[in-house]
C-alpha cells in the first residue's frame, strides 16, 4: 500500500472514531447527569458534577421508588420472554404448514398476515384494547395473546421465506419413515430452522421490550412496563423530577446494552437476515 492510501485510511479512521464518540455522547451525558442533583440538570446538562451538585445514588433511589422500576423490570421481562417464546413456537408452526400445504386457505392466511404488517397500530388501538377488556386479556398473561396476534405478520413472513428454501424431500423421507406431520415438524424441520428462530426472536424482543402504546392502553393502569414507567415520570408540566428521570433512563438503557454486548453477533446478523427476508 502506498503512502497516499495510508494517509487516506488514517483520516477515515480518525473521522469514524470522532463520529463514534459523538454517537456515544448522548448516553454518556445522561449517565453523568444521573449523579447530579435534580435542579442542576436542565440548566447545565453538559457540566460535570461538582462537590455541590453531586448526589450519589439519590436519583436512582427516588426514581426506583417513584416509578416502581423493579416491578416494571419484572413485568417487562416476563411479558417479553413469554411473548417471544409463544410467537416463535406458534408462528413457525403456522409458517411451515401454510408454506407446505398449498391451498386457498393457506394463501388467504398468508396474505392476511403479511398485509397486517402495513397497518398502523392507531388503526386498531381503541378496538383492540376494548377487545382485551372484554376477553380479560388485560393482564401480563393475556397480553401474550395480543402480542402473538400482532407479531404474527412479520414472524410468519420471515419463517415462510426460510421454509421455502428447505428441500421438501427431507420431510417426505420422514413421512415415508412413518412420521406424522407433528413429528416431522418437531424432529426434522425445527432443528433446520434454528438460525431463523434466533432472528425472529431478536426482532420480536427488540419490539416487545421497547413497546409503549400497546401495554399502556391494555394493562397500563395496573401494570407498568419499563417504557410506561419512564413516561410516567413525565407527569404534569413543570413537576418533573429531572434527577429521577436521568436515573430511570440509565436503568432502562443498561439491560439493553448488556443484552447487546452478550449476543451482539447474533443481533446484527439476525436483524440483517430478518430485513433481507422481509
Amino acid at each position: 500500500m502506498d503512502r497516499q492510501h495510508r494517509v487516506r485510511d488514517g483520516l477515515t479512521s480518525a473521522f469514524l472514531a470522532l463520529l463514534a464518540a459523538l454517537y456515544l455522547a448522548p448516553i454518556l451525558i445522561v449517565l453523568v447527569n444521573s449523579f447530579k442533583g435534580r435542579f442542576f440538570i436542565s440548566d447545565a446538562p453538559f457540566a460535570l458534577p461538582t462537590a455541590r451538585t453531586f448526589v450519589g445514588l439519590q436519583n436512582y433511589l427516588s426514581g426506583i421508588a417513584k416509578t416502581g422500576f423493579l416491578q416494571a423490570f419484572g413485568y417487562s421481562l416476563f411479558i417479553t420472554v413469554f411473548s417471544v417464546a409463544t410467537i416463535v413456537l406458534f408462528t413457525s408452526m403456522t409458517a411451515w404448514c401454510i408454506t407446505r400445504v398449498r391451498s386457498r386457505t393457506s394463501s388467504l392466511f398468508y396474505y392476511l398476515l403479511v398485509y397486517s404488517m402495513i397497518v398502523p397500530f392507531q388503526m386498531v388501538m381503541f378496538t383492540m384494547s376494548k377487545m382485551a377488556n372484554v376477553l380479560h386479556l388485560d393482564n401480563p398473561v393475556g397480553i401474550i395473546v395480543l402480542y402473538l396476534g400482532f407479531g404474527a405478520g412479520l414472524s410468519v413472513f420471515v419463517f415462510s421465506g426460510f421454509v421455502k428454501s428447505i428441500p421438501v424431500e427431507i420431510e417426505e423421507a420422514a413421512t415415508i419413515d412413518g412420521c406424522n406431520p407433528i413429528q416431522t415438524f418437531f424432529l426434522v424441520v425445527f432443528p433446520i430452522l434454528k438460525p431463523i428462530y434466533i432472528t425472529v426472536a431478536i426482532l420480536n424482543t427488540m419490539w416487545i421490550w421497547n413497546d409503549y402504546l400497546l401495554p399502556y392502553l391494555v394493562i397500563g393502569s395496573n401494570y407498568r412496563t419499563i417504557p410506561i414507567a419512564v413516561q410516567y415520570l413525565q407527569g404534569g408540566y413543570g413537576s418533573r423530577d429531572m434527577g429521577a428521570m436521568m436515573a430511570m433512563l440509565v436503568l432502562a438503557i443498561v439491560p439493553i446494552i448488556v443484552f447487546y454486548f452478550s449476543s451482539q453477533k447474533y443481533i446484527i446478523e439476525g436483524v440483517v437476515a430478518g430485513a433481507v427476508k422481509g
Partner: protein
C-alpha cells in the same frame, strides 16, 4: 405435503390464527365500522355516515397540519438516513482497522426504545437551546429538526448494517474485472456498487418510509406535540383526538382509517418503484 389431514392443519395454524383474529382482524374490521359511527364505547355506537371523515378535516386544522408535518419529516429523514447509512457502509467495507467496533457503536441506538430516546435527546437539545433562552417546545421547527436528528441517530446504524450486507454480497469477480478494466473509484461506485446494492436499497427505503410515517413514541416523548400540537405527527394527532377529548372517538377512528390508507398507498408505491430499479440477474 398436499394431503395433510384437517386435524393436523388445525393444530399448526389455529393458535396463531385465533390470536391474530382476536388481536388484529376483529379490531381492524370493527375499527372501519366505528369510523362511520359516533361512540364512546363499542356498544353505544350510532351510525352517522361519513360525517366523522368530514369533521376530521374541517373541525380544526390539526389533522392536515400533522399530515404536512409527517410528509415533510418522512421525506427529509428517508433521504438523510439512507445517504448517511450508505456512506458509512462504504467506509466500513474498506477493511480498515476497528471496523467491527464502529459497526457495533453505530448500530446500538437502534436497540433503545423510542420513549427513552426521546427523553435522552430532549436533554441534549434543550441543553443547547437554553443558551439562546428557549427550549424545544418554543417552535414546531425545533421539534421537527429534533426529531430528524433523533431518527437519524436511531436508524442510520440499522440501515448501515443492511447496506454493508448488500455491499459484501457483490461478487468479488465483478470488482476485480472492473479494476482490470481500469475503472476508478467513482465509476466503480456508479457502475457496480450502487446498481448491485439496489435490493438493500429497497429494504432500507421500505423500513425508513414506514417507520417515519408511523413514528409515535419518539414524538410523544421528545415534544409531546408542543407547541400546541404544532409538532404532532399523524399517529400522535390520532392518539390525542381519541383520548384527548370525549365525543371525538369517531373522528379519531376516521382519522386512523385515512392514516392507514395513506400509509398503505405510500408503502406499496415505494416498493413498486424501488423493485423496478433492482438489477435482475
Amino acid at each position: 405435503m398436499p394431503g395433510m389431514p384437517k386435524r393436523f392443519y388445525a393444530f399448526f395454524t389455529l393458535p396463531t390464527m385465533l390470536a391474530f383474529t382476536l388481536a388484529f382482524l376483529i379490531p381492524f374490521l370493527l375499527g372501519i365500522y366505528l369510523s362511520f359511527t359516533e361512540f364512546t364505547t363499542v356498544t353505544d355506537s350510532r351510525w352517522v355516515g361519513i360525517s366523522n371523515y368530514v369533521r376530521a378535516f374541517t373541525d380544526d386544522r390539526n389533522f392536515l397540519n400533522a399530515a404536512v408535518f409527517t410528509v415533510k419529516f418522512a421525506l427529509v429523514s428517508v433521504v438523510l438516513i439512507n445517504v448517511l447509512a450508505f456512506s458509512l457502509a462504504l467506509l466500513l467495507t474498506r477493511k480498515l482497522r476497528g471496523t467491527n467496533l464502529f459497526r457495533t457503536v453505530f448500530f446500538m441506538p437502534n436497540l433503545i426504545g423510542g420513549i427513552v430516546l426521546g427523553y435522552v435527546w430532549q436533554l441534549i437539545i434543550n441543553g443547547v437551546l437554553i443558551n439562546f433562552g428557549v427550549d424545544i417546545t418554543f417552535s414546531a421547527s425545533y421539534g421537527f429538526w429534533g426529531l430528524v436528528v433523533l431518527m437519524n441517530w436511531q436508524m442510520v446504524g440499522y440501515m448501515m448494517v443492511i447496506y454493508i450486507a448488500g455491499l459484501q454480497a457483490i461478487p468479488t469477480e465483478l470488482i476485480e474485472a472492473a479494476k482490470i478494466d481500469g475503472a476508478n473509484a467513482r465509476q466503480m461506485l456508479a457502475g457496480i456498487k450502487i446498481p448491485l446494492v439496489m435490493p438493500a436499497f429497497t429494504i432500507c427505503t421500505f423500513l425508513t418510509v414506514s417507520n417515519s410515517f408511523k413514528l409515535f413514541d419518539q414524538n410523544l416523548s421528545l415534544t409531546g406535540g408542543a407547541p400546541a400540537r404544532g409538532s404532532a405527527m399523524l399517529a400522535l394527532d390520532i392518539f390525542s383526538t381519541f383520548y384527548g377529548r370525549t365525543g371525538y372517538e369517531g373522528v379519531g377512528q376516521a382519522k386512523a382509517v385515512v392514516f392507514f390508507l395513506f400509509v398503505a398507498l405510500v408503502v406499496l408505491l415505494q416498493l413498486r418503484y424501488s423493485r423496478s430499479r433492482e438489477v435482475v440477474n
